[in-house]
Amino acid sequence: MSAILTVEGITKIYQSGSKNVQVLDAIDFSVDEGKTMAIVGPSGSGKTTLLGLCAGLDSVTQGQITLNRILLNRLSEDELAQVRNRYVGFVFQNFQLIPTLTALENVMVPLELRGVGKARLRSEELLKRVGLGDRMDHYPTQLSGGEQQRVAIARAFSNDPKILFADEPTGNLDDETGKSVEDLLFEINREKGTTLIIVTHDVELAKKTDQIIRLKGGRIVD
């Protein structure tokens, strides 16, 4: 099985005023296709920064990241956008649905961006799959937190991503809703054979993944 994501010696330094703040230091790991991985660590350890770099949302200061055999370092912002659109899915802690679009339209966006035909049909199927077949025309503000996160999951899988990044996907939900969203995420992930990278504080959730990376002070500690 080949690696879908390879991270080699990456360092990330942010400039804060006149000071340089090193957020990540010499991170190396790889994830095989179809596997799941959790990134855990205390607040400020660099988890979200690492996820952002792996997903092509930001650029590394040193080192290189290869996603689906594409070296991200060399790409322009527009090319990175296309990589995200074709190969990457996202689930965010605060759902990040576009408030002015209905649930269905939110799910359709990645497909429409890509110019895929039958975007509506495929999105409707996905929404039915996450149990929201009857809430398709509702706006995000008309949905509960759990429902919003299920729309986000449907959107994340709508473009059949090779890899899905989830940032604290249950962090804003109560235990019961969180559990059902978690189950749904893993279930669809298995069905689609997608690689799943989760950033989480939840040790129980991390244990469900094939691989765990523990971060502390911007370095892998385990």
Binding site: V83, R84, N85, F92, Q96
Partner: protein
């Protein structure tokens, strides 16, 4: 391992941004109401004024013949000699003669007296248009006997009825009609100089035509339809003009009327354009607010693979669409304004206006609206290029802040160029457009600098000992994300414009009323014959009135300058002597000293000729000398009613023409003109209205040829005219005020966006509602106040400069007006700020945090 990624553009649907723009706008339309309002008010003013201008010029074209009432007229201060009369007569099918002059008239029944324009008519004039009278038949019947028709305002003012008589000079006429309208004359014009028409054959019997009287003779002609005049017309005109007569054609009148109203409409267009510019600021700030609210959604879309340009396109489509809607609404309001403007300006316009829709103005309005929306929208939208997708997972990431972008500078330059081109189109003059663009750009730069300065100053001067609530409110003026600079700029510009409108009005009123101040002359009697001089002086003294000046006036013409007559000067291009210098009649006085309105600036004042053989050194005005291109010692030859007098320029004077007294371009020394035919002017001051009325009646009865200018009446008339002009300006300024308010609301909403989180946190930390109200009120009061101060400062400086360099007058701003403007802007700012913040204060912090932060 490394795989090349190619961007396959064809896979992105071109219509997708349109689709997204539509979807995204559904829940955002209410937020764009201010944007639409900003655009529509500015466009409304622009379309309204442009349509009015075009309508006016079009009507002037169509009704040109009725402006003059004839095909052409020949006028001069002598009756047309037969040789010239017949030169034109054979071109025409009909001729009319008019003699007109200023004269006092008296209404014996009510004892009312008034300086009027007496027009004595013979013939069928007007050939085009009509003298509108009540009853209509009076317009022609008055020529059949000893009848008069009189301006209706004059009749109302002096309580005169049909059948009463009016005394013109020595002769009484029965009033048989009220004049409602005269071809080519405005209502304002008739307020200044009300007209009395009498038959021309009675002029000699009035006794008003004497040597030295200022009488104008006009002959009106109607072209014969069967005669081709093109070959001989130019020759006849040259001959008449060469003999000192003015020839006025329909084309001349059309051009003259068009020019004066183009000036009025240009001024109104500047007001409209300022409304549009304020609208642009409204567009810029409302789109800034809108885009701020979209940053998070853009970050998410970027995560999902959307390119930066696509994000901009989505919102650009929205901005252009809402710009179109705003423009269309603006055009509709503009057309409605256009329907009202003829009514509002009726007093000034000498023709009947039938409003017609002017499509090019509407098209231009729509285009300007869209371009402005897109350009001012782009100023904020290009910031979306820099929204990092990382913002989706890290709220508060630095890219959420829309940073300064070099592209914004480029767009700013394009905006200035566009404004310049639009102004050029509007004013039709590249130079004025450049000046106005420079003033506007300069004003914005100055206000921006003032905003920065005030923000910095606040930080330095707020004492720590100040109560928390006030300190908190004031500190918001310099803390990060403060809106001081943008609000001072937008509020400042709106305030500056509004204040300038008031200050300009103040300036004009101050300028006029200075002339009527205490102890200055307020009554001028002129056309006094030499043999009447002493008795009139005695009558004045008998009425306990001071004879402040008694000035002899001699009329003459200039024949030669340094030995060159008119033709020689015309042929000698190096002489640079204008033709009018030889054509005009000069009214000249003689005295031995300067008066207080004059200052000697060059040469030597010689007040008296001691020996009849001495050279005559005269004094002329410096401005006149510059026009004539002459210096000290140069020779001027005058024709004083047949006698040639050679003079030399002895001195130059600066003259304050605003003073109510007789001022002269040319002053002779004593000892030269005493025996020449002359008339006199007497100047006095009358403090009481009843004395003024009795004195005027006595003068008119005993000296019917003497005319009286009552400065109080002139001031009242001017005030009335200014009031009417101010009404038109204020009507148009309403749009600027409206747009200014929209800008203010947008700016305050913008600051609400910045302050909301802070206020919610304060509430969460236990701030009482009353404390929050006070903090918000303090912040907005100071924001409004600073904006008002900046705007007022700019307006005062500009009006003072205008007063100094254009009106040559030291302008003193009215402190009442300044205070009213300051308080109005500050309290409006507080009111809007409090209304906008009521959600934060009234609702639970959690609810607000969830929904709006």
């Amino acid at each position: 391992m490394d795989k090349k990624i190619t961007i396959s553009k064809e896979r992105y649907s071109r219509s997708w941004p349109l689709k997204m723009a539509w979807r995204d706008s559904r829940k955002s339309r209410a937020k764009l109401v201010l944007f639409i309002a900003s655009i529509s008010l500015g466009i409304a003013a622009l379309v309204g004024i442009t349509s009015f201008r075009e309508n006016l010029l079009d009507e002037i074209d169509q009704q040109a013949k009725s402006l003059l009432g004839a095909d052409f007229s020949v006028s001069g201060n002598k009756d047309l000699p037969d040789s010239l009369f017949y030169k034109f007569k054979w071109l025409s099918s009909s001729e009319s003669k008019e003699t007109f002059f200023s004269s006092m008239v008296l209404f014996p029944r009510t004892d009312g007296t008034r300086l009027t324009q007496v027009r004595a008519l013979e013939g069928d004039y007007p050939y085009y248009g009509e003298i509108e009278t009540d009853p209509p038949s009076a317009a022609t019947r008055f020529k059949t006997g000893q009848y008069a028709i009189v301006d209706e305002k004059l009749l109302i003012q002096y309580n005169v009825e049909m059948g009463d008589s009016v005394l013109v000079g020595n002769l009484g006429f029965e009033i048989i009609g009220r004049i409602k309208r005269i071809p080519g004359q405005t209502n304002v014009g008739s307020s200044v100089a009300p007209v009395v028409y009498i038959p021309r054959q009675y002029v000699p019997e009035t006794g008003l035509v004497k040597k030295g009287s200022r009488i104008n003779y006009v002959t009106y002609y109607q072209f014969h339809p069967d005669i081709d005049t093109s070959n001989v017309w130019a020759e006849a005109r040259d001959l008449a003009e060469g003999s000192g007569y003015d020839v006025d054609t329909i084309e001349d009148r059309k051009e003259e009327t068009g020019r004066s109203f183009r000036d009025l409409s240009s001024f109104l267009e500047l007001i409209a354009f300022t409304a549009l510019l304020l609208g642009c600021l409204g567009v810029a700030s409302s789109i800034y607010v809108y885009v701020k609210g979209k940053v998070q959604a853009v970050a998410v879309l970027r995560c999902l693979g959307m390119k930066a340009t696509q994000a901009i396109n989505i919102y650009l489509v929205q901005v252009a669409s809402f710009g179109l809607i705003g423009s269309l609404i603006g055009c509709t309001i503009g057309v409605i304004i256009h329907l009202f403007l003829p009514e509002v300006t009726r007093e000034f316009v000498p023709i009947d206006l039938t409003p017609t829709i002017y499509w090019p103005a509407i098209l231009a309005g729509v285009l300007i609206g869209i371009v402005i929306s897109v350009l001012f929208g782009l100023l904020s939208l290009v910031g979306l290029r820099r929204v990092s997708p990382l913002s989706a997972i890290r709220f508060g990431f630095e890219s959420v802040k829309l940073r300064v972008d070099p592209l914004v500078t480029l767009i700013g330059a394009v905006v200035i160029i566009f404004l310049y081109l639009a102004l050029w189109w509007q004013l039709g003059d590249p130079y004025y457009a450049l000046i106005y663009t420079a003033i506007l750009t300069g004003a914005i730069v100055i206000l921006y600098g003032m905003g920065k300065g005030l923000s910095w100053a606040m930080k330095k001067i707020i004492p720590n000992s100040m109560p928390f609530v006030w300190r908190q409110g004031l500190s918001n003026l310099y803390r990060p994300n403060n809106q001081t600079v943008i609000l001072v700029t937008t509020l400042g510009l709106s305030t500056a414009f509004l204040a300038m409108l008031y200050f300009m009005q103040d300036l004009l009123v101050q300028r006029v009323s200075l002339a009527g101040e205490n102890e200055r002359p307020n009554t001028i009697l002129f056309d006094i014959q030499t043999n009447q001089k002493e008795s009139l002086r005695q009558m004045t003294v008998d009425y306990d009135l001071p004879v402040m000046q008694d000035v002899p006036i001699v009329t003459m013409r200039l024949l030669e300058v340094n030995g060159k007559n008119k033709d020689e000067a015309w042929n000698d291009t190096t002489a640079r002597i204008p033709g009018w210098a030889f054509n005009r009649e000069y009214r000249v006085t003689y005295r031995d000293s300067l008066i207080d309105s004059e200052t000697l600036v060059e040469g030597e004042w010689l007040g008296r000729i001691l020996n009849p053989d001495d050279s005559i050194f005269i004094s002329i005005s410096r401005g006149y000398a510059e026009n004539l291109n002459v210096g000290i010692g140069d020779e001027l030859l005058f024709n004083v009613q047949g006698a040639l007098i050679k003079t030399y320029i002895g001195s130059f004077r600066d003259i304050d023409w605003r003073r109510v007294q007789t001022n002269f371009l040319v002053v002779f020394p004593e000892g030269v003109l005493e025996q020449a035919p002359q008339f006199h002017v007497l100047i006095t001051r009358i403090n009481r209205n009843d004395v003024s009325a009795r004195y005027q009646q006595a003068v008119v009865r005993q000296f019917p040829n003497v005319s009286i200018i009552d400065l109080e009446l002139i001031l009242k008339t001017l005030e009335d005219i200014l009031g009417k002009v101010a009404f038109v300006i204020q009507f148009m300024a309403l749009f600027s005020i409206g747009t200014g308010l929209v800008v203010m609301i947008s700016s305050i909403i913008l600051s609400k966006f910045q302050r909301m989180q802070e206020n919610v946190l304060l509430r969460t930390l236990g701030a009482a509602r009353q404390q929050l109200w006070k903090i918000i009120a303090a912040e907005y009061f100071f924001l409004g106040g600073l904006g008002a101060i900046a705007g007022l400062a700019l307006a005062i400086v500009f009006t003072i400069l205008l007063g100094r360099f254009v009106f040559e007058f030291t302008f003193v701003p009215s402190s009442v007006h300044m205070m009213v403007i300051f308080l109005a802007i500050s309290f409006t700012s507080v009111t809007i700020g409090l209304l906008n913040s009521r959600n934060i204060v009234r609702r639970s912090p959690l609810e607000v945090l969830r929904n709006e932060v």
